[in-house]
Amino acid sequence: MPAIPGKITAPNYGNIPHSHRLPVTHREVVRAFGKLSRTSLITLAQQWLQKKNRDFCKPYLLGDQDKNAEEEDDAPYEPAESYEELQEIYKELLSRKGGRREVMDRILEGDWRTGISMYQLATAEIQHLLDHPQALRWTAKRMAKIPNNRVVKDMEVTNDSEHLPRFQAQTFMTNLAKELSPLMKAHYLITKLKTLPITILRVYIHDSPYSSEASLATDSNSSDGAKAVFFIWPNGSPYIYVSLATHLGQVVGDEGRHLRDVVLQAIPKAFSRPSSRYQLTPTNFTARSLSALLAYRGPGKSNAAAGGWSIFADHSFSQNALDFVATGKLSEAKGTSVDAVAQKAGPGRPKRHIDATETQEVKRRKAVAAGRFGSSGKANDGQGIERFEVRIDDPFPPQSNSTQQQQDATGASAETSRGKRKGRPSLLDRSAEDIQEIEELDNAWVPDVRVTFSGSHVFAGVRELVEQGVVDGEQMPGWMTGEAGVTIGAIKNGRIRSKGAVPGV
């Protein structure tokens, strides 16, 4: 670590403050800003210029120039005189059309040429996340209370019992920083969103004992790992979504994963209070889309009512108790109005003829699909899951007099599971108890069969296959509708095994 003359650089226990700046040529800065759209950039700049944020986002103003005027001759942008002038400039930029490059250059080479603060970098990355809600891959975890033997009334529901971990941002941040600062230096930004019921925490990991500006600017290691981790708390639920802030095409190295795990381990500790300790438990759910996460592991009604059970979560199963009208064709009326809206959206598009030639069979298949999927599995609902993996633990359907074949195959499957699989063990690998359970089955051949569905919206795809008649909608097992609400699981007796007592809590 090169020491900067005139500045003392010493390891300390502090966090990285919001106002520390990175040079505009820093890899992270270039990446974060290169991804943002023009409007987002302008909105961000306006946000930074707001009175309450000015301390963390000092722009380069005319007043700063005087000290070293000779350097600035070739600067492409005239520094503004005041915050108000800058605000006007960005307002003007917003009102007219132009390229995003123009705004980005103005920010990086003009108004913030002296550096982008950690606060700015963090807000820029969060803005990108909100602009592209599918940009990252999230894993949902659950905060579970570690059962306390001394306090017997732990689970009792009383007038003033609370079963969700209490989330108080300031206390949590202090505790988290206490846990992490001996291990690494980090910058934290925690934001409560207005548009979605979530709170985002971004942790920028700086793997160094120093928290000075100079040490931030130097790339301490050559590896190109992700430097930030995102955590999301959906308000009013025990879940937490975790993701590494990777850039497009960036490989997550072991180092990045390790740093994420360090932060992850500190989180339940930061939540815990004396006599109520928490731990993170997996929920077997990974998805890219935030709205899918909010639907399957969110604060609402849909957590334990996925797939065909979605009719219970929206109001299509039972009407309002005071709605006595039974004769109207309510569902049909709704359908046509949706169609009308869709057509209105694209007036240039030729009107789609709802084919009158729809045969009885097609209608029947559609009805079956509607029965199995309810209101879920629609291609445009934004709740797509990209990957759904299952392992089938049911014995292979027995065939007559083919024992020889069976034995051969068993040997082969054992070999593949031992020899071929390299690298990290998959979550789907059979555990010791699973294997024992399988061995207890007499004379059954249970090959290690894994099925992976992948696509932009897996269950919408399955629904379409049912509607097209490729998949038999009536014989299809329930897990193919997504009703188990997991993206990875093991199947026994044709059903996804559920270990928890009550789903979706």
Partner: protein, 312 residues
Amino acid sequence: MFDQEKKEAYLQNLRDMVAAAEKERDNLAAILLSTPHLSTRLQKGPVANEHLRETAMNLLKRQSKRNVENIYRTCAGVTAYKVRDPDPNAVDNGNILGVRIEVFLEGKFVDKYHVLFNRPNPRHKSMLRVHHHTIPPCIPLQALAAKWMPQSQRDSSSRTGQDLVRFGRKLRKELTLWHIRKAAVDKLRVAAGLPSSTEQTKSSATEQSTYGKVLNAFTSDDETDPEDHDDDDDDVVSNERSRVVNITDIGADLAAQEIFITWSNNQIGAVVLNKDGQVKEGAFRSSDGVRLKEMERKAVGSLEGLLQRLSE
């Protein structure tokens, strides 16, 4: 282009009118079909076409079924029904017992929740287990199920008592209290002159300037604290000029058990509620971080009078 828009508006108007007329027709039909003794009159009276009589009888049956269902749901609040699990591999041939809980608040049925039970154990046919449900996670469903719908650990003999009625009652109480608390927080906002939470979400969706509120804008940065205070002082000065310290924000968590209040002089407070809406305890701080013990003492009591008690 303008013509196109005009046409669209005209068509939309027509569509609205059709929809309204259809609604009116359905309503009238429901009233007609609910007329007493209609079925006997239909059966006895002469009709030209036997097929039409059949259709009318079917409609009548549907209507009377709906009427009975609604009356039960309206009066009981918790009702049970049977559905089938379409999964061919479902336990117990897919027999599902559904429990529907209505939440009634201020003259309206505001929402309904479902808990669906199956019978996973073929030996104990009366043993129910929560299969799916639509209860939000801020309601302690798991704890209630563990208490009132326990699963027998051993296979036989130890028949743990399941009490579906008590379970439904307790769950309904939790859900209703939750809705009442949410409504009370909304009322508190209106009383403080703030838009109610539904209006607020509407306005914030259109407002684009910031995407959210940074919660640790001061905790990790000591250097800027003095300047922060400068800002605060400005605010205080301007407020002293107008002599009004008002509430700028009231927020609550999703379970509506914690309420956060912000005043225009940067004084902040948080109170914790019991489930039945009593303020259990509170913490208040002035802008320079001093605990306001007097306010904390005054906050305890019912939620409705909270603002009055604090402003006294």
